[in-house]
Assembly symmetry: C2
Amino acid sequence: MGFEITIRLPEWMDEYLEWGRPYATVEDRMRFAIELARQNTARGTGGPFGAAIFETETGALVAAGVNLVVPMRNSVLHAEIVAFMVGEQRLGSYTLAGDGRAAHELVTSCDPCAMCLGATLWSGVKRVICGADREDAGAIHFDEGPVFPESYAYLAERGIEIVRGIMRDEARQVLAAYARTRGTIYNG
Amino acid sequence: MGFEITIRLPEWMDEYLEWGRPYATVEDRMRFAIELARQNTARGTGGPFGAAIFETETGALVAAGVNLVVPMRNSVLHAEIVAFMVGEQRLGSYTLAGDGRAAHELVTSCDPCAMCLGATLWSGVKRVICGADREDAGAIHFDEGPVFPESYAYLAERGIEIVRGIMRDEARQVLAAYARTRGTIYNG
């Protein structure tokens, strides 16, 4: 048979997954990622992080993810990783780049941790838009791992643009709300 | 329903997944990880990388993974990530540490890339044993991403021991064999 692992997105996400719906501006896209993080916290289906993938030019929604570490008992399932998996499954490809495809971007409610920043490189996205930052995550005891200025430079040299601090205040309010509810800080 | 992603290990792995079987020495454990990499290449079920998780003290096999990026069309599915997911599903926990659990270690046929090194931190393993190195992977055009000496130091400071170069020659022979068969170098 082969050992199987099934990852299931929370049912409430169905109404947010209107594939192809255009999100015109960077702020529209970030608002969507933050809303996913907020809903995930409010509904108790995971950590306070949301991410989505869009076609950069058209703003068409290609994929979305939320942090599912605790409910799925899987340390890999950060919002960004889930979004990459969803996007690649939808496109039927292990990369969102190449084959004359439109350029894709990852929009995430918080700076990617070391794992997710590495994953960004392999996903084929050409731009990363971040909301809250490493310090905001650290303030509620989420470790971001070994991410250094050279890490960002490494991605930049390979043609991946990183834009940080978009709607940071709104993004970190979700983190603060999560901390107040005493959600599990699973890698503190 | 909720969007679903199913990850299935190749059927041939079934005969290798004898849970709890003890692998006494570090070399026994590495030989197993390398054999998974070799089989994955020979059977055409993915990239030339294998990984396994053991209880450090007893050597009991807890999890195993191979690179499934191309067959599963999923850039996240490096051997180490697959092994973490399998181990956490088997233990029913998002961490292999804590709760009075035995210490676990990751044994991987090649130095973890930036994504997998970050994932190591979140997995709860206390030791990482590596075979082939970054240069060996680079020699056949696999990029390892932003991993720096400070990255290893970051893990060491958090109590994760990293041991590199175990059975390196045998491990890189698998990489060389893969390159000769012109396997897909999906992030070159």
